[in-house]
């Protein structure tokens, strides 16, 4: 039964909702917190924001051994988003040898897994392709 866990984290997974401390600007994702881990204000007020759409790769690894529904090798990256917040995401439309620390990536809505025939989507990241960008 996937409905309860899906619904609990739906806003974080389906629309990248994150929470920004009104005291110091720290962006918490995916946890909705009471105490800010950066300025330690307790309780702090958090503003709901949407992450992205762009960020930079802080570090990455390449996963080779994954369950059958995935298609390894898949790069996995920790990304610092432009408006604040860090995410851990799979990288799409990118071969492992194209990965670089510091590369610019953007959020990309993709299917993550299926259960009982229901497709669950969330966000991966993909390299920003030069030339596709609006001027």
């Amino acid at each position: 039964m996937i409905t309860p866990p899906l619904w609990r984290d739906y806003r974080q997974n389906n629309r990248m909702e994150a929470y920004k401390c009104k005291n110091c600007g720290f962006v918490s994702y995916p946890e909705k917190r009471r105490v800010c881990p950066q300025c330690k204000k307790a309780p702090s007020e958090f503003e709901t924001i949407t992450l992205g759409p762009k960020g930079r790769v802080l570090t990455y690894t390449v996963a080779h051994a994954l369950p059958a529904e995935f298609e390894p090798p898949i790069p996995l990256a920790i990304v610092e988003m432009d408006g604040g917040g860090r995410i851990y995401a799979m990288v799409s439309d990118c071969k492992p040898d194209q990965m670089k620390v510091g590369m610019e990536v953007e959020l990309d809505y993709r299917e993550i897994f299926q259960e009982d025939g229901y497709r669950v989507q969330s966000f991966k990241v993909k390299p920003v392709k030069k030339g596709e960008e609006p001027k």
């Binding site: 739906y10 389906n14 059958a68 990309d108 809505y109 299917e111 229901y118 609006p134």
Partner: protein, 340 residues
Amino acid sequence: MGISGYGVYIPLYRVKLKEIATAWKEDAQPSGEKSVAYFDENVLTLAYNACINAIKHADIKPSDINALYLGTVSSPYTEASLAAPLVNALGLPENVEAVDFGASTRASTAALQAGLDAVKSERLENILIVGSDVLVGAPGTSFEYTAGSGAAACILSGNGVIAEYEDSFFYTTGFADKWKNVESGYPLYGDTGFVRRYGYVEHVVKAAKGLLEKLGDSAQSFNHVVLQQQESRLISEASKSLGFTPEQLKAGMTLENFGDTGSASILIGLSAILDQAEPGQRILAVSYGSGSSAALSFKVNEKIYDKRENSTPVKSFKENKEYIDYFTHLRQNRIISRTE
């Protein structure tokens, strides 16, 4: 009142049609290629990317959109909305009207017409329309050569319009040419020659002629024409019968690049035309599916220049691609999978 912005999304991967012919040891070596969704792409994810590009192009805030209408014939569900989770993913407000159109490759023009009516009647201000399909043909069939994947979206508004809506005309008989059973998963066809003559060609010609008569126009009145991108022979037969020149069809032709993108194909063609259209030019779009056709006409205005720099042109998707072999295509579209 009309289109205030548009956006397209095509998956990165392509398979050359001659790869398919070689795999089946066919003598003919067809030219062209088709787009193939990756393992983690589906109707919803393609639609999302097209919508993001349309919102960017229209230069509109997501909070100003009042409705999202999605058209597809390849939803994985007979019950479960795709439009509703898409509203959430795009960050649109929760009071947005979300509607799913389906059952025929005419779905996106049905959504377009419903949206145009809602804006015209001033019930809604800005409506996001999206057509998205991940089509898969049964291995070894002719549809395998054309079945492609892609999505296109446009925003309909009263203000900031770049292409004014003029009029529409419909032709409906219920002719049975193509259907997909829940059990089979692949589309099935009636007798090919018969279907060609009495299905696509007759319906496209009658809807287009009906609109030309209604508007008092001739075939030469339109600068650009896009016909449902189903099969090159059908497009050329219908356009010949209507008196359209290859020059009129050129900008909206995407079949050779992406294949048949189903309900997305008319909106992709329309976007490709808008990428290069000039103010004052007129566009005719004719969709077809399941024994019914719709013809719609638009006139481009000078505001098209203001938004052109916001666009992700169809040309960029034609150029930005990676080729995969036939076997990878079968795996990516889950036609075959590893036995556990």
